[in-house]
């Protein structure tokens, strides 16, 4: 018995010793992402949020940066740089709370309350590399210029503090939208014909039938010349130009035995919140920025809505901090709800799981992609522009990792659909996008303790914002960065169909950023996350999940819109923002 106990004790000790040693090895590997520290090079720690945009771009940029400085010595006894990547999940205030203990020198993240980070002293001053004496990007291959030159006026006004300093640089651009399966659209000819009375309910009968001009209101000359060959050409001809056309398209698609739409059931409230914000921004154009600046003239405020949906406008109104609540009656908001009501009007327009709590965003992406091999195909996905990068493993799974396989990410043609317009009058006005993720790259203030690291961190932050790096990011993620730049033909040729269509839309669109330096906005940032502006008072209940309410109770867009106005009263505004109004 004693012997047995001894053996048992020894065995347990051996098991514990094994577990501890394995864990410690794993921890060591994990701490540096499995990278062995090279004692002959200077290390730079860089983190990139583990979100939909992934970190392939960081791997590629790091490799080029290491190569660029391979013969440069930054500290005695060492030559070259070694980038140690990190992909944390923590963002926003969570990241800020522990930033002093964060060892990463350069951080790329999202959901950043920029001025809170500044007030917390979390970020190093990077003015010299953004607009100052060390900002010239020529050394990294640009034809002169600096990072500030790649920012819009709205971005400069926000990122440049009152004492003319920069602490962060915008990172990736995030847009909500509708992704459509171009392969399926081509195969089933889900395109509007130019001739509405062609005997096929206005849809093309043959692939080379002349198509409608689409949301941009212009006929594409390339399409007309090549017989609408969309194999390598991205174009909006034949796509729905208005909300009504979109509904007509859904009917047509459903009639063809295809499920028109899918989105994440688990995140449907978030998806629709952001999607409605995108629709509202597209309708409002530059006026959308009033929702954050509270300064300027609003011309789209609704006075009344007729039973048939006809909107009557108020005279142009000057918006100030005192009457910011007026913006809750903007027509963009009403039409966004109207669009949601339309696509929820029939259960045949969407997948069964679009309100199911178990249906994650990645399930929706998978269902959309895998439907190609199933009886019931899915034509469109509502998601953010990061979706393709996020679904990279699904593409790889479907194509066995072969880029030439018809199911690969490189081969499948999925497009970012230009948003249809609320009214016929708006067709041809161009698209306005809103970039809503508040993403940013900055240098952790801890780096200031080590001049070598600070210098290197600045070089890296500058390097990833050079022309070559911006193009590389766009190619690898199929998404643009939140900066103004061009894409070379060479880079465009490397992009997936989706990446090209996203870039086309981004390039031609007006982008409005949901922030300002107005004290009312800055002191209540969480209140002005635009999607929360759709909360509506219905039956004395504040409804946040508008799409579910519409779906379950068939409440009209007009009722929801009137509920928003009933909730966002002058009295409520004055109570909540008294200090900024007076």
């Amino acid at each position: 018995m004693k012997k047995m106990k001894r053996w048992l004790g020894l065995s347990l000790m051996a098991v514990f010793a094994f577990i501890i040693s394995v864990s410690s090895v794993a921890c060591r590997g994990g701490a540096n992402g499995g990278i062995k520290i090279d004692p002959n090079r200077t290390q730079l720690y860089v983190s990139s949020h583990a979100g939909g945009f992934g970190s392939d771009w960081l791997t590629a940029a790091s490799a080029r940066f290491e190569e660029y400085y391979k013969d440069t010595s930054f500290e005695s006894g060492k030559t070259g740089v070694q980038i140690i990547p990190d992909t944390p999940k923590t963002i926003g205030t969570g990241l800020l709370a522990d930033i002093k203990n964060n060892r990463n020198n350069v951080i790329f993240t999202e959901s950043v309350y920029y001025y809170d980070y500044i007030a917390a002293g979390a970020m190093a001053d990077i003015t010299d590399i953004v607009s100052g004496e060390n900002s010239d990007l020529t050394e990294y291959g640009d034809n002169g210029g600096n990072i500030e030159g790649k920012l819009t006026e709205q971005q400069i006004a926000y990122y440049k503090t009152s004492d003319n300093k920069y602490y962060g640089v915008p990172h990736y651009a995030a847009f909500m939208g509708i992704m459509y399966d171009v392969d399926l659209f081509d195969e089933k000819m889900f395109y509007f014909a130019d001739n509405e009375n062609n005997g096929n309910d206005g849809f093309i009968i043959r692939a080379n039938d002349k198509r409608s001009a689409g949301p941009d209101g212009k006929y594409c000359e390339v399409c007309a010349a090549n017989g609408y060959d969309y194999s390598n050409h991205v174009c909006d001809d034949g796509l729905p130009a208005t909300y009504d056309e979109f509904v007509k398209l859904c009917d047509y698609i459903a009639g063809a035995g295809v499920t028109p739409l899918i989105w994440s059931g688990e995140n449907h409230a978030d998806v629709f919140g952001k999607f409605m914000a995108q629709l509202a921004a597209d309708f409002e154009g530059d006026e959308y920025a009033l929702n954050f600046s509270f300064s300027g003239e609003a011309t789209h405020l609704v006075d009344s809505i007729d039973a048939d949906g006809t909107v009557h406008y108020k005279p142009a109104t000057q918006i100030t901090n005192a009457n910011g609540y007026e913006l809750y009656s903007s027509a963009g908001r009403y039409y966004a709800i109207d669009f949601v009501e339309k696509i929820l009007s029939k259960s045949t327009y969407h997948h069964d799981f679009v309100f199911n709590v178990t249906h994650s965003h990645m399930d929706a992406q998978d269902d959309f992609l895998y439907s190609k091999d199933e009886d019931k195909r899915i034509a469109m996905l509502i998601d953010g522009n990061w979706w393709e990068n996020e679904a990279d493993s699904t593409f790889a799974d479907m194509s066995n990792g072969n880029p030439n396989d018809p199911n690969s990410r490189q081969s499948r043609r999925i497009g970012y659909m230009p948003l249809p317009k609320a009214t016929e009058e708006q067709v041809g006005e161009g698209e306005t996008l809103t970039d809503f993720l508040y993403s940013m790259g900055f240098i952790n203030v801890n780096s200031c303790d080590t001049p070598v690291k600070l210098d290197l961190a600045k070089k890296f932050l500058k390097f990833v914002n050079s022309q070559q790096s911006l193009e590389e990011f766009t190619v690898l993620t199929s998404s643009p960065k939140s900066l103004e730049y061009e894409m070379s033909d060479e880079s465009l040729a490397k992009m997936t169909y989706f990446g090209k269509s996203m870039w086309n839309t981004r390039e031609s669109a007006n982008v409005v950023y949901p922030y300002s330096t107005n004290s009312l906005y800055l002191n209540h940032q969480s209140d002005f996350v635009f999607q929360s502006g759709f909360q509506s008072k219905l039956n004395n209940q504040i409804v946040t999940d508008i799409s579910k309410k519409i779906n379950d109770e068939h409440i009209s867009a007009k009722e929801v819109f009137e509920g928003i106005i009933a909730y966002r009263t002058a009295e409520q505004w004055a109570a909540n923002y008294a200090s900024e109004i007076n």
């Binding site: 007030a119 709590v357 002191n523 940032q525 209940q541 579910k548 109570a575």
Partner: protein, 344 residues
Amino acid sequence: MKKKSKVEKKENEKFAAFKRAVSDFFYNLSVKVHGKMPHKQAGATAIGLKKRNDMIFYCLMMLFPVAQFCTFYIAVNLNSVILAFQSYDTLTGVHSWAGFDNFKLVFYNLFNDPTMLYSAKNSLILYACGLVVGVPLALWFSYYIYKKKPLFRVFKVMLFLPSIISAIAMSVMFTYFAERAIPQLLKLIFNKSFEGLLSGSKTAFGTLVFYSIWIGFGTGILMYSGAMNSISDSVVEAAQIDGIGMIREFFSITIPLIYPTIVTFLVVGVAGIFTNQMNLFSFFGPNAENSLSTFGYYLYKNTQTASFSDYPYLSSMGIVMTIVAVPLTLLVKYLLEKFGPSTD
């Protein structure tokens, strides 16, 4: 020879006397010394040293928890109280005195924002359901286990299992059960489509209340059955000799004897009205519908998404809740102790 030996003897005697004198001197000195520093005093010094060492050990052991308490409880809460009377300017990063402005806004929203009214209603319903359904059922199951009735071990494991499995794992399993399995089962029976229990607007609240009670069962059963096991066998045996039945034993002996444990649970539950988030974050993240909100969820969700400038308002809301919760909890404790069954 004899003469010599006589002389030697005399000398030896002198030497022996001298030795004795020296020895006596040192002995007397030793006695004097020992008399002046007696063993009694040495004992007292040892006790003093021990006390001092014990005190140092105690202080060292308490240093960390006390520092932690001071930093993370007193300082944090004090900071929270101060924050409630301040406003924060994001652009300059400066806090300034705001008086009762934050409290005014809290009271304005409490009486004008339907979300707050829903949160209050839901929090109270959840507590009431726990009180009316959860506590009696937990007591009854605990009693069943305590009496070692058939399959009591199986019940014990089954009922306690949800408490030891990770909360997220449990909520994921339950989500799939409620959203996929149940609708599928109903479809098989009734041949028509049904919404998931959590996504259905009419079933979501009931499902969440059920889940909260079910998931809380394990702790209740563990505590109640533990308390029941400490009931003296002689009391139970005496009652059984008097012919008491199981039901009577439950109400007349078991409940009164474990009443302090029940009181503890009920009092903690009252405080929980303001903190219980009904597992909403596990199921819906920050996107739960307002009509499902509880006070706990409301505060947690808003804190998660808050910027610096939101903290003063949230602090004042926390203080308002504390002001309501503390007297309410003390009142419930007082009433339960005053009007509850006696162990005499």
